[in-house]
C-alpha cells in the first residue's frame, strides 16, 4: 500500500516503466508470446498495481497477463483503485468464482488464444486445462526463473525504496529495543513497535515480527522486523538486552552479541561481485546458523546457506538480506553487493 514513509527519489511512473520494460525485454529474449502471473510480487513488478495484502500463499490464478506483441498488461481487478494509469480500464477483468467466466475473460484478451509460448510463474491443474483449451497451440513454459533473473539486479530507484524500507524496519527495532530497555515485556515491546511503524503508514509484514526471549534467562531478546514498504522489503534484526539484565553482567550473552556482530561484519564484507557460495560459507565460518538471500519485493533468490545455493555468483547491484546467529544472538541486515559492501541499516544502539 501507499505510505507516508520517506519519499524515494525516482517518480513511481518511471520505476514502473523501467520494470515493465525489463519484463517485456526478457519475454522477447525467451520468445514468450504471453506471460501469466499469479504471485503478488511478480504482478506488482510487472504491472505496478497494488492491492489488498493477505498473508501466506494464495491458490494459483491468472492475476496478470502480459502480451509480447502489443506490450499490453491485463489485470485481474474489479476496480481501478491501485491500478496505474498506463493500464487502461478496458484491460481489467473482475474477480470471479466461476472458471467459465475467467475463461471468457482470458479468451477475450487479444493475442492470448493464438499464443504459441505462454510463460507461467507456477501452475495448477485447473489453469493448465483452461490454458490448453483457450490457447490450444500454446506450450506452457515455467518463467519464474526468468523473472527472478530480471529482478535480481536492482534499479537505482529500487535500491532507494529498499533503503527507505530498511529505515522503517530499523525504527521498529529501535522502538522495541527502547521499550525492552525500559522494562517492557516482549509482547508490550512488539505492540509499541507495530503501533510506531503503523503511525508512519506501514502495516504489512514481510517476515513474521519477532520480539522473543533469546535464552532461558530472558536476559537477551531477539528483535527482528521485516516490513513491506511500498511493496519492497526492509529487514533489520538484533538481539538486545532486557532492562535489569544487562549484557555486561553476563559474559556469555555479551560474547554472543559481539560474536554475532563480528560474524555479520565478515559476511557483509564477503558480499562482493564475483563472490561464490563457497566464499560466503568461508566468511560465515564462526556462525552457528546463517543465510544470505535476495531482498527486493520480499524474499527473493539467490538463497545461499551451508547446503543451498551451490553455483551462486553474486553480481554488482544485487541486494541481499544477510542473517546470522552466534550462540543466542542473531543479526539481520540488508546489503547491496558492491566492491565496498555496506549495510543499509542505520546505526542502532548495541
Amino acid at each position: 500500500m501507499t505510505t507516508d514513509a520517506e519519499t524515494p527519489t525516482a517518480a513511481p511512473a518511471e520505476l514502473r516503466a523501467a520494470r515493465r520494460g525489463r519484463v517485456f525485454d526478457a519475454m522477447a529474449e525467451a520468445a514468450l508470446d504471453a506471460l501469466v502471473l499469479s504471485r503478488r510480487d511478480f504482478v506488482a513488478y510487472a504491472s505496478g498495481a497494488s492491492g489488498l495484502w493477505t498473508g501466506g500463499t494464495r491458490p494459483f490464478g491468472a492475476a496478470c497477463v502480459l502480451l509480447a506483441d502489443t506490450r499490453a498488461v491485463h489485470l485481474l481487478s474489479t476496480w481501478d483503485e491501485g491500478v496505474p494509469p498506463e493500464i487502461p480500464f478496458e484491460h481489467l477483468y473482475g474477480v470471479t468464482w466461476n472458471p467459465a467466466v475467467m475463461g471468457r475473460a482470458l479468451g477475450a484478451i487479444p493475442g492470448f488464444g493464438t499464443a504459441r509460448r505462454i510463460g507461467v510463474d507456477g501452475l495448477s491443474v485447473g489453469f493448465e486445462k483452461a490454458a490448453r483449451r483457450l490457447a490450444p497451440n500454446a506450450e506452457l513454459v515455467p518463467a519464474d526463473d526468468l523473472l527472478q533473473a530480471v529482478r535480481a539486479v536492482k534499479l537505482p530507484a529500487e535500491v532507494d525504496r529498499i533503503r527507505a524500507a530498511v529505515a522503517v524496519a530499523a525504527a521498529a527495532v529501535d522502538t522495541a529495543a527502547g521499550a525492552l530497555a525500559d522494562g517492557a515485556a516482549p509482547e508490550e515491546a512488539l505492540a509499541a513497535a507495530l503501533r510506531g511503524v503503523a503511525a508512519a503508514g506501514v502495516t504489512v509484514p514481510a517476515s513474521a515480527p519477532v520480539v522473543a526471549p533469546a535464552d532461558p534467562s530472558g536476559s537477551l531478546v531477539h528483535v527482528d522486523f521485516g516490513l513491506l514498504v511500498d511493496g519492497y522489503e526492509g529487514g533489520v534484526g538484533r538481539t538486545v538486552a532486557r532492562s535489569g539484565a544487562g549484557v555486561g553482567a553476563d559474559a556469555g550473552a555479551g560474547g554472543a552479541v559481539a560474536g554475532a556482530a563480528d560474524a555479520q561484519h565478515r559476511l557483509v564484507e564477503a558480499c562482493r561481485p564475483g563472490a561464490a557460495a563457497s566464499d560466503l560459507r568461508a566468511a560465515a565460518g564462526g556462525a552457528s546458523a546463517w543465510r544470505v538471500r535476495g531482498n527486493g519485493l520480499g524474499f527473493e533468490p539467490p538463497v545461499v546457506t551451508g547446503s543451498l545455493g551451490e553455483g551462486t555468483t553474486l553480481v554488482d547491484g544485487m541486494v541481499l538480506s544477510v542473517e546470522v546467529q552466534v550462540g543466542s544472538a542473531r543479526r539481520r541486515d540488508v546489503v547491496a553487493v558492491a566492491a565496498e559492501p555496506r549495510s543499509f541499516s542505520p546505526p542502532l544502539p548495541e
Binding site: M1, R39, G56, L308
Partner: protein
Amino acid sequence: MLATRLAEHRAPAASIDVDRLQRDRHARLQAQLERQGIELAVLLHGPNVGYATSLPTRAVDVTHAVYERPVAVVVAGEDQPHLFWDDAGAHPAVLQHPAVWPELDEGAALLGGEMVELAGGLAGRRVAVDVQTGAMLRAGVFAEAGLVDGSQLVAGAKIVKTPDELACIAEAQRRNEVAMEAVQRAAQPGVTRSELAGVFLARLADLGVEASMIDPIFQPMPRSVGDGPRTTTGSVAFPTGVGNPTFAAGDVVWVDAGIDHLGYASDFGRTWIVGRDPNRAERRLFEQWCEVMVRVLDVLAPGVTGGELVRAATAAGAAVPPGTSRPWLPHFYLAHGVGVESAEMPLLGTDLGPEFDDGMVMAPGMVLVLEPVTWEEGASGYRAEEIVAVTDDGWCHLGGGHGYEPFAA
C-alpha cells in the same frame, strides 16, 4: 432483534482437542483419496498443508511463504501424513522430514526424489497436487503422473467441519472481536487508516495473537458509487486495500479483518460512523441489513439449499447496491464458508449462478459467513459479517457476540 437471535443461538466456548482435530482431518483426507481414487496428495498451498498436518499458516508475505514453504504429503492408506519442514511445532502425529525448498531448482529435484522414496515411481499414478512451482515443472517432478487438482481433494474433505474445527473458528472470531473494541474507540476524526491498523495489530500482540492474515481494512465509503473507484461491475469497490485515508467526522467506514487461531480464520466485518451517530438513512440501511440476516437465519437448517437462502435474502426487499438486484456485492457473495481459508466453500450467491446455489445443500457442520450489503445512492451502505454453523436442527452462532455500535448495542 438480530442481536438477540444470535445470542440465543450462540455456541458456548468449547475446548479444542488438537490431537482429535489432526486425527479427524487425516481420516477425512484418506476418505477423499479413496473416493477419488487418488494414491498420493502433494500439498504446497499453506492452508492445505495446515489441514493435512496441523502446521498453522504463517502471517508472512507470499514471497516468504513460498520460498520457506512447508510441503505436506498424504499417501493413501497410511496412518500419518508427511511434513517437509525444518522448524519445531509440527504435530506429533506427523512424520517430519527436512524442508525441501521446492521454489528452488535444487529443492524441486530433491522433492521429486523424496516422492519416489515415499510412494515409489509416479509414472501413470493418480497424484493430487494443488500447485506446482516453476522449479517443479522444470524438474518434471510430476511429468509422468496423472495429475488431479489437490485443492479439490482438500475442498471435499473440509466442507463439513468437525466440532474441534468449529471451536477453532469461534475462538478466532472471539479474539478478533476483542481486539476490535479498542480500535473502534480510536476511530475518531483525524485518525488515519494505518493508525487504526496499528491499534489493532498492537492489541493482537497484547492478546498473544500472531496471525493477522490480512492488512486490516478500514475503508471510508463513498456516498454514491460514482464518487468511488470505477468498477467492472458498476457497483461498489470494496475492499481496495489501497491508500491511507485520514477519517473525517461523518465518514462511513467499512471494517474487515481476519486472524487465525490454530490455523483457522476469523472474519470480522462491521460498519462504523466516525465521530457522530448514524443519520436516518444510515439507520434505515442498518435495519434493512438486519432484516436480510433474519430472513436467512429463519430458513437456515440442514437440507435447505443455497438457492433458498439466496432467495430469502433477496425477498427481504432491502435497498441493494447498484449493478445488482440482490443485497450483497456482485463480485462477492451472500455467504462464504470459512475454515483453514478465509473464504472457502460453500459460496452462496456468487457468479457461479442459481444452479450452483440450488445444488449446494446445507449439512450439519457447514459454516457460513453471512455478509449482506444494503446500499442507497447518496447515503452509502451498511455491511457487516456474522459467522454461523449449520447444526442438526438449525444453526448456531460462532464468536463472542459483538455489538453494532453506533447503530445498536
